[in-house]
Amino acid sequence: MADDFLRFRDDEPTEEPAVTLDAFLDQTNSSAVRLEAGEDVRLLLPHLHHISLIEVDFPRFRDGRGYSSAQILREAGYKGELRATGDVLVDQMDHMRRCGFDSFAPNAPIDPEVLRATLDRYAFRYQTAADAAVPVWKLRHG
């Protein structure tokens, strides 16, 4: 379970343990699933309506496949919890938030002060993503 300051949702967290993608696809009554780096996130798309938690694992922080997985899930309309797990460091969390992650379960502790500064730092964004930020090209033209 993520620490409070590492969860950016108001709903109650699901108590159900996340199952592997294979297990989930075998018995789709589960509502929590864990995606390893390199697994095809699009296999989940037909089932999003009854999933409440998707964990996306980062085996190494430099493995950036999970950012695309998150972005694809949000583009497909997934509204449930999207949790980044594994080698998740504070300097990656701003971009993870932009890609739609709304909770974090990092291997190593995160300093709440540094995280707050990180997430507050950029007032403007150049591009659309899965967050609510309005890209500057839109701000420029009203």
Partner: protein, 544 residues
């Protein structure tokens, strides 16, 4: 040229603040070096053999006098009084202290510059045609599109940790001065039969240890969809590119492994998904950016005559001055390749001189080129003599553009921790051997490129003559390649055979040029002769 608004400035300022905090946490031991390395690389800071090297972005090679002067200030204040222009139109400083880096970035931000994504596994600073906006053969200025992509690719969250680096080049002319087909993505602005603007999209080129000339993935991409299509290609690669072997992680390997057809199919399919995100930058914004690149107020009625009575000046005009689209104007190339110098190096004083001359003679605009030279894009022909005199006084009037001594060379083992061999002394010895300008001009256009290791930063694959430094049982050894080109007729050079020591490679180059002079036909450049007669006559000349 492009001018920041409040948003651009706020983003660059935030980046300075972020990096300052990252350096603080690193120095306080809160981040390990392994964790810090990608963070500093994303900001252009490498750890080299002797010190940190900072690479500063010059987006698509365009800058003004004030920015140039700041580059000189940084050279003086934080380095050893000089800077080094790179093969990606950037500048780097080789003697930087980590604790100074945040202050340097803050200084750069005051003149709308930064070091964002100049290294690391990120979407790098874009490159473009150094004659953009001045060339007679372009269909439009490519730089508004390059600026659009600069913004759209800056801190793109989905592509935070790509498998490897990613380089984009944009041109708009038939003559390719930006080596677009040797980039991860090369874009050529074109018009279709209906007169609409769009891009030829080449994906999967590159040099390094596995060089490829990029195939044409899409012959016409509507200009309005430029960014979403790039996102599709990047996503296909980010999801499916290899991550198990650093030497096989560039997009070129994925394109090669999947094959052009299957790769194209996947990108087109992904693009259909991404189009739903409305991530494309609207044309009204393209128009806003384009106003920044409106042509300067060229005078009309100027004479095209040039007084050639000074023979040294006439020589420089013939070699370093190129046609401009506006009557009475010319494009001036400032060679950073004096005999005995280090290719691409300039002193802080020379930087100041160039900044002054750009302000006085070229509408306050200058360009860095991938051949490690500087361009003043808009000079009145009647000012050429005065300009040349000022350049000559500063040691900047070497009349050798595109000649054999206009060598591209990486920093090599003198600076770089990846290198296997030195590049700079080899470049100097070759320039010295061919120091006679008459001899160089007799040889004509001859692009010689030297890399000190297989990573190919010196573009040796694309040299008419290429030299690759390798480590052979603990000694430096140099392989010779012939027949490469980074231009519109892009091709990869072929290794001639066993390598040479430092002096031997200079002799081998000379045997190649002697052979060329012996067998060339009227009007043929070295590359043309090589392509006509083939590899064997040269091989025989080299190895006997």
């Amino acid at each position: 040229m492009y001018k920041y608004d409040q948003y651009d400035q706020a983003i660059v300022d935030a980046r300075v603040d972020e990096f300052r905090d990252q350096v603080r946490r690193r120095l306080a031991g809160q981040i390990t070096e392994d964790q810090f390395k990608p963070l500093r690389l994303k900001n252009g800071l490498y750890l080299q053999l002797h010190a940190y090297m900072l690479r500063v972005a010059i987006p698509y090679g365009t800058l003004n006098g004030k920015q140039m002067r700041m580059l000189g200030h940084i050279a003086r204040k934080y380095d050893r009084g000089y800077g080094h222009f790179t093969t990606r139109q950037n500048i780097q400083y080789n003697w930087i202290k980590l604790q100074d880096a945040p202050d340097i970035l803050a200084d750069l931000a005051t003149v709308e510059m930064h070091a964002i994504q100049t290294s690391g596994e990120s979407i790098r600073n874009l490159s473009s045609d150094q004659y953009a906006g001045a060339a007679a053969d372009e269909i439009a200025d490519p730089r508004p599109w390059a600026e659009l992509l600069r913004q759209a690719t800056t801190f793109h969250p989905e592509f935070s940790y790509l498998p490897r680096k990613f380089k984009i080049a944009v041109t708009a002319a038939d003559e390719d001065r930006a080596a677009i087909r040797l980039h991860d993505i090369g874009l050529k602005l074109v018009r279709n039969a209906a007169g609409e603007l769009g891009f030829e999209v080449y994906i999967g080129g590159g040099m390094g240890r596995t060089p490829f000339v990029a195939p044409l993935i899409r012959p016409f991409l509507p200009a309005a969809n430029l960014f979403s299509y790039l996102e599709a290609a990047l996503r296909v690669w980010n999801r499916n590119g290899r991550r198990d072997n650093i030497h096989k992680q560039r997009i070129k390997i994925l394109v090669h492994d999947l094959g052009q057809e299957e790769f194209t199919r996947q990108v087109e399919a992904e693009w259909q998904h991404i189009l739903g995100n409305a991530s494309d930058v609207p044309l009204v914004e393209v128009e806003r950016i384009a106003t920044h690149f409106a042509p300067p107020p060229f005078e009309t009625g100027l004479s095209d005559a040039i007084d050639r009575s000074d023979p040294d000046f006439a020589l420089w005009v013939d070699q370093n001055v190129k046609p401009h689209k506006a009557p009475g104007y010319a494009i001036v190339n400032i060679s950073l390749k004096p005999v005995g110098g280090i290719p691409g190096d300039v002193s802080a004083e020379q930087i100041d001189v160039i900044a002054d001359l750009a302000e006085r003679y070229s509408f306050d605009e200058l360009r860095a080129t991938h051949a490690q030279n500087i361009v003043l894009p808009h000079v009145r022909k009647r000012d050429l003599y005065e300009l040349w005199t000022a350049l000559a006084d500063a040691g900047l009037a070497t009349p050798n553009l595109d000649l054999i001594s206009d060598i591209i060379a990486c920093p090599g083992l003198d600076y770089c921790s990846l290198a296997n061999a030195r590049s700079i002394p080899v470049a100097q010895k070759i320039a010295d051997r061919f120091a006679d300008l008459g001899r160089q001009r007799e040889l004509g256009e001859l692009k010689l490129k030297i890399s000190g290791c297989i990573n190919a930063c010196g573009h040796h694959h694309a040299g008419h003559i290429g030299i690759l430094g390798v480590d052979r049982k603990g000694t430096e050894n140099y392989q010779l390649l012939l027949g490469g080109s980074g231009a519109e007729d892009a091709s990869l050079g072929k290794i001639t055979g066993p390598g040479f020591n430092e002096d031997g490679i200079v002799d081998a180059v000379e045997r190649v040029t002697d052979k060329y002079l012996a067998v060339r036909q009227e009007g043929e450049r070295f590359l043309d002769t090589y392509r006509r007669v083939g590899f064997e006559p040269f091989k025989e000349a080299i190895y006997g």
